[in-house]
């Protein structure tokens, strides 16, 4: 009898251990996670970042309220991703597979905030976007901004090709252009007007001006370079260089020649017209780039190239970043 009681006690103990292993242990795992979430003191939103072919951001639509602090708990199951929410000042560059990155956001204004991946995670990386809808607080400001300049001016972004009939024989120099001490016409000193001009057109106007008759063609091109870059701050250029490396270099190449690894198999503009060049634009091609006004380039940046693989950056860049980026593109043709 004593033996039986001892056996039952041992079996009950063993059963307790088994129940701990099979029931309490799993419950503890989920309980701990629930406790972590509950004790965080803020609302936690899980975002899983997958390559776009596997679904991209999940969820890719978030609803937040003004003044509410939310902890975004971001993870990736496949490759390294990044996350930027420009409107909320969030920039996370490295979300490694299996690691969890947490970032707190507290929106202070209602509106729609785009977010995007910042790492070239796949050939469709540029599709990896999402939107945060922030409501509450003060009544939402109704957008009264004007249409972008290219629309106001009726520029057809797809009217291609645009090719300059005159191009410089040597790389135009900004500093040499400045050293010439030539008074620039008003259409080149007023940024708003200059943006509507193509550098090649500006060259034609300057060349036709009798006041510049003594200047060589090369010096007129130097003047053009000076006119385009004189108002661009080094800070803006540095910011644009960072954005270019993050968003553009994979297709257009770090040197701007359009030979980046992610752009090798893109259709380019042939999607619109088989006679058009294939692949990403070559920013070092003077005939092509000097015939494009800043407004035209801004339009392409804002809208992207439908069907060419060129993403739109209108929802991710501020106005300042857009103009800085266009100035940066000019540096592929204009030397210091």
């Amino acid at each position: 009898m004593k033996h039986v009681r001892s056996r039952i006690k041992e079996e009950l103990f063993a059963l307790g251990v088994v129940l701990v292993v099979l029931v309490a242990f799993p419950a503890g795992i989920f309980g701990y996670q629930a406790w972590r979430t509950a004790s965080a003191g803020v609302k936690i939103v899980e975002i899983v970042a997958r390559a776009p072919e596997q679904g991209g951001f999940s969820p890719d639509r978030l609803s937040l309220r003004v003044g509410e602090t939310v902890r975004l708990r971001i993870s990736s199951p496949d490759v390294v991703h990044g996350l930027t929410i420009p409107g909320l000042g969030v920039n996370v560059n490295d979300i490694y597979p299996g690691k969890v990155v947490e970032v707190d956001v507290t929106p202070d204004k209602p509106g729609r905030y785009a977010f995007a991946c910042t790492r070239w995670c796949s050939v469709d990386h540029w599709r990896m976007r999402g939107v945060i809808e922030v409501t509450g607080g003060s009544p939402p400001v109704i957008a009264t901004t004007e249409p972008p300049l290219f629309q106001q001016l009726g520029i057809d972004l797809d009217a291609m090709p645009h090719e300059a009939h005159a191009t410089p024989n040597a790389t135009p120099s900004i500093s040499v252009g400045a050293a010439l001490n030539v008074a620039l016409p008003q259409d080149l000193t007023d940024p708003a007007t200059r943006r509507t001009l193509a550098p090649a057109g500006a060259f034609d106007n300057l060349r036709a001006d009798p006041a510049n008759a003594a200047l060589s063609d090369a010096d007129v091109w130097n003047l053009v370079a000076w006119a385009w870059m004189k108002d661009v701050s080094p800070t803006a250029l540095a910011r644009a260089a960072t954005l270019y490396a993050r968003d553009c270099a994979a297709c257009h190449g770090p040197d701007g020649k359009g030979k980046g690894p992610a752009g090798l198999n893109l259709p380019g503009m042939q999607k619109m017209d088989p006679a058009m060049p294939s692949g990403p634009a070559d920013f070092t091609d003077p005939a092509h780039m000097l015939a494009a006004s800043d407004v035209l380039l801004q339009g392409k940046l804002l809208r992207g190239g439908m069907g060419t693989g060129m993403p739109e950056f209108g929802s991710l860049y501020t106005d300042e970043e857009q103009w800085a980026m266009i100035a940066y593109l000019r540096t592929f043709l204009f030397a210091k």
């Binding site: 059963l15 088994v18 292993v21 795992i29 972590r36 993870s75 496949d78 597979p97 299996g98 690691k99």
Partner: protein
């Protein structure tokens, strides 16, 4: 030349205790449960998931590099997969029912399947999808769960540990390579067994259950079918069973009497070691991608080549080698089938060392993932032990080839020695072992080429 370590009083007490094995099994079950949960709900990133890191790196390293060469089937003794089924079958967890009674339909496994052919098929099935299973936590969890469900079902219908003995895909190669281990569970004196009519080691007693592995310990001659559960140590009323330390590979010295299913197991293991070394760690990324792309035309081509290599090409080459030896020195009355099976003993050391060499290459490179996974087993952003930030660090990557070369050469040396011994035991001249020696040497050189290239 062997020594009964279980005669050391403290070791005997531990081995006869019903709690030792049970505690270890409960511990492995805990890890098993964590691996399943991690696979089902944890991060899909394999290198951050406990299920992948601890099953395919830590456990695999433990099994291939330590347990198999030095402790044989010790893992089978504490494996969590058959445990729930066995507990249900016994309706007890630790202490035995009176007389070792089992609660099962008690069906006998079909006679035609009392071999390891199904284990060979199961292993090939897992191996064919291994590029997915080894990297996808969910797949790993489902496979492990599947094993456990089959084990439970088998326990309820069939007698004892039928699953372990005839079905477990892992148990098949563990049994094969356990013949190398320097330990064995055997009777001390067969004469005592012969005079012991009750045979409680097989039928069970109040002290424990009859051999769960369906083996009569008195007739054990090799480690293949002994699960080291130590049940017979508890039930033998004559204290005639012991755990011995012995000469490594002692089971292989008797190079006759081997079976065709075991021979194929050896060939499958060698072929898989070669294929894995080529596909998983070779420089051809396209092979790895193809092996992962299940269902595509490329994958079907891979599957065809995989199965052909395992079931036809490598066995065919080995058959030609054995046939060549037979042609060189015709034994009096030995069939090709018997020669083929017996010469396949050479594949045991060759295959095990091939797997050790292969495992060294990825275990040492990837082991450091274990530290971060310990702190965050599900990839949920935890940091339980403060180690989640430890970066991936390959351990002694430069030395790995210097470990692989001697390991493979030891295996080749043992294989050649066994080939010569097989020739002698079959009454052949030593030259009859030459073709098999060439086969083993070519396999070793092929692996060395892959590892050193």
């Amino acid at each position: 030349m062997r020594y009964a370590i279980s005669d050391v009083p403290i070791i005997k007490r531990m081995l006869r205790s019903r709690w030792l094995q049970w505690s270890l099994t409960a511990l492995t079950l805990l890890f098993f449960v964590l691996a399943i949960i991690a696979g089902l709900v944890g991060t899909p990133a394999g290198n951050r998931n406990f299920g992948i890191v601890f099953v395919w790196i830590v456990w695999w390293a433990l099994l291939i590099l330590l347990l198999l060469p030095f402790a044989g089937r010790l893992w089978c003794g504490v494996c969590p997969i058959p445990a729930p089924g066995e507990w249900l079958q016994r309706r007890a967890l630790v202490q035995p029912r009176p007389g070792g009674k089992l609660y099962t339909l008690g069906k006998q496994w079909p006679r035609a399947l009392r071999n390891i052919w199904l284990q060979n098929v199961g292993f090939l099935g897992v191996a064919l999808f291994s590029t997915v299973i080894l990297t996808t936590p969910l797949a790993t969890a489902l496979v492990l769960l599947g094993f456990m469900i089959v084990a439970i079902g088998t326990s309820l219908v069939f007698e004892r540990r039928t699953f372990c003995r005839y079905l477990c895909p892992v148990g098949g190669f563990i049994g094969l390579y356990s013949q190398i281990a320097p330990i064995e569970l055997r009777v001390k004196d067969t004469a005592i067994c012969a005079g012991h009519t009750e045979k409680t080691c097989y039928t069970g007693s109040d002290e424990g259950y009859g051999c769960p592995w369906l083996v009569f310990p008195g007739g054990l001659t090799n480690n293949m079918s002994c699960g080291l559960c130590t049940e017979c140590l508890k039930t033998c009323t004559r204290d005639n069973i012991a755990l011995f330390v012995r000469q490594p590979g002692a089971d292989l010295l008797k190079t006759t009497g081997h079976k065709l299913d075991e021979a194929y197991k050896g060939l499958i293991m060698l072929a898989c070691a070669f294929i894995y070394s080529t596909v998983l760690i070779g420089p051809w990324g396209v092979l790895k991608e193809t092996a992962r792309a299940v269902g595509t035309p490329g994958w079907f081509a891979y599957a065809g080549i995989f199965l052909a290599l395992n079931l036809a090409i490598l066995p065919g080459l080995f058959w030609l080698a054995v046939r060549g030896g037979q042609w060189i020195s015709q034994p009096a009355q030995t069939t090709m089938r018997k020669l083929f099976s017996d010469y396949a003993a050479t594949l045991v050391p060759l295959g095990l060392t091939a797997w050790i060499a292969f495992s060294l290459s990825f275990v040492l490179v990837n082991f450091s993932y274990a530290w971060s996974v310990l702190s965050d087993p599900l990839g949920w952003g935890w940091n339980l032990l403060g180690t989640v930030g430890l970066k991936w660090t390959p351990y002694i990557p430069g030395l790995i080839p210097y470990l692989q070369v001697p390991v493979l050469l030891i295996g080749l040396t043992a294989a050649i020695a066994l080939a010569l011994r097989t020739a002698r035991q079959h009454g052949q001249t030593p030259w009859a072992a030459a073709p098999v020696t060439v086969f083993c040497t070519a396999a070793t050189l092929g692996l060395l080429g892959l590892y050193l290239a």
